[in-house]
């Protein structure tokens, strides 16, 4: 997990939303677990991207959607944090 408080907060909000999308308890979403292993499908992933736009104002749908940026809650939180800082 990142040590930056802002990144930790982003991670917390993402965890809650992912849990909602894949119908599990937030505790079941580990920071380093791959989203596809949690049962996330295409529509669920798109819903996550909508959530990110509404929460953080970032339109990630328009990016390349590379696995390394999106695979885990941790990598996604870092990506969002970096985008918000730039």
């Amino acid at each position: 997990m990142g040590t930056n408080p802002a990144e930790i907060e982003i991670q917390k909000r993402l965890t809650e939303q992912i849990a909602l999308v894949v119908s599990v308890k937030p505790g079941a979403v580990k920071p380093d677990a791959a989203l596809h292993e949690l049962g996330m499908d295409s529509m669920g992933f798109v819903e996550m991207l909508v959530f990110i736009e509404k929460q953080f104002g970032l339109k990630l749908i328009e990016t390349g959607l590379k696995r390394e940026d999106f695979q885990t809650v941790q990598s996604l939180a870092k990506r969002i944090h970096d985008e918000l800082r730039s």
Binding site: S23, L35, H36, S42, L65
Partner: protein, 435 residues
């Protein structure tokens, strides 16, 4: 607002349930059979016939809703009327022993199973067991009335049957409130979808006389390596986890080539894609817990796969952003005032919700166990009868890291060779990628 107390003898139907009822009515009227579907378990060994029959009948008796039928309440809301008790198990049970275990003979049994009407109006579930010699295996298939179960619910029910933990009939309110809100939602949906309605909805034409025509199927089961190759191609072309848009773009590309080759109109495709709406999956088994998004791709784009994927992805995003799926559930509640026959006529006239083809692409199954009554499950797939129109559809599901590709079509829409060829082209293109 009219509010009646919950009763174990009734379960109110949602707007989506009512729409499925209208599609079922359309199919019954045109072909003679409704839009039943079947979920098939391929097992590594045969299950003893009598023990299996008794097990299934006992479980079915524990769920009286299986013997129910649609009715209308005094508040005009439609509901599923559940009998107080059932003495006779409300299921059909049929055994098949094909002459060989060739894919053709097995598919013939499965085709016969899903096209066989239920024994009475109060039957909505049938089990067919297909014993295979000499490999000493069997297939257990559950044919279900789509008015009572959706595909994921059917998998969950099979799981509940094998665990001997039948699901409760969870209550559903009559939804006779928030009229103004629902009218406003309807107006918003109309604005979102209106541009799609302006283009023609191209499709494979249905035969002139549909009476008695069965659904036919092509099944292609891909192994783990092939499935991984498709996912890698999807990731390369569409992005991480964007499998469904890739699969749909490839399917439309091949369908467009087929329609052009036959000289049929092929300018514009509308595809309703069903989406699971369960929030607490384990408790929501019976009835239709789904909604739809509608995707629109023009033929001029279909040949350009990157552009096609981009458009599909963007439409999914835009519709998720305005909560189209949730709003469709909401607004269809208003449609329940119409009898299914009238709603069916309306859907035929508007055509948008019926689309160019039926399509679904789902990941892991909701069937939780690796076994069924002690036998190991080798594969799980669905063979659905498709609403008419469109009368055909492509269905993709995954089980044990392998993908099943199912093409369902009304007899006479394509020849058997054409259907096999079309599926072959789709699978080859999915595997190749970079179109």
């Amino acid at each position: 607002m009219v509010s009646l107390p919950y009763s174990r003898k009734k379960r109110y139907l949602t707007g989506i349930d009512w729409m499925i009822g209208a599609l079922d009515h359309l199919a019954r009227k045109s072909t003679g059979a409704g839009i039943s579907s079947q979920v098939v378990l391929e097992l590594d060994r045969p299950l003893p016939e009598e023990e299996l029959r008794e097990w299934l009948e006992d479980r079915a008796r524990a769920l009286p809703a299986l013997a129910g039928a649609p009715a209308r309440d005094i508040n005009l809301a439609p509901y599923w009327k559940v009998p107080e008790r059932v003495d006779e198990a409300p299921i059909d049970f049929v055994v098949h022993r094909p002459p060989s275990e060739s894919p053709g003979d097995v598919l013939a049994c499965l085709t016969a199973a899903v096209n066989k009407p239920f024994e009475s109006d109060s039957r909505h579930l049938a089990f067919h067991v297909i014993y295979l010699e000499p490999s000493d295996r069997c297939l257990v298939t559950m044919v279900f009335d789509h008015r009572l179960l959706d595909a994921r619910g059917a998998e969950m029910l099979l799981d509940a049957i094998q665990r001997n933990d039948m699901p409760p009939l969870d209550p559903e309110p009559a939804h006779l409130d928030r009229w103004l809100h629902r009218f406003r939602v309807g107006r918003n949906i109309n604005r979102t979808l209106a541009p799609m309605g302006r283009s023609p909805i191209d499709t494979i034409p249905l035969p002139a006389d549909l009476a008695g025509r069965p659904s036919r199927f092509v099944l292609s089961s891909l192994d783990e390596d092939e499935t991984r190759a498709i996912k890698e191609a999807a990731e390369r072309e569409a992005g991480y986890l964007i499998v469904m848009p890739y699969v749909l773009a490839v399917t439309l590309q091949q369908l467009d080539v087929f329609l052009a080759g036959k000289g049929y109109p092929h300018g514009s495709y509308v595809v309703p894609v069903s989406m699971d709406m369960r929030s607490e999956r384990k408790r929501q088994v019976l009835f239709n817990r789904l909604s739809f998004i509608l995707l629109h791709v023009k033929s001029s784009i279909v040949g350009n796969r990157p552009a096609s994927i981009q458009i599909i992805r963007q439409q999914m995003y835009d519709q998720a952003k305005v909560h189209l799926q949730r709003d469709l559930c909401d607004v269809t509640m208003l449609m329940r005032i119409a009898p299914v026959s009238m709603l069916a006529r309306l859907m035929l006239k508007i055509r948008l919700m019926l689309g160019s083809l039926s399509f679904s692409c789902v990941g892991d199954s909701a069937y939780a166990s690796d076994t069924f009554l002690g036998a190991r499950i080798l594969n799980l797939f669905h063979l659905p009868r498709v609403p008419t129109p469109p009368g055909y559809g492509f269905f993709f599901n995954e089980f044990n890291s392998g993908m099943n590709v199912v093409f369902s079509y009304i007899d006479g829409m394509l020849t058997e060779d054409e259907a096999n060829e079309l599926v072959g082209h789709v699978v080859t293109a999915l595997l190749q990628g970079d179109g």
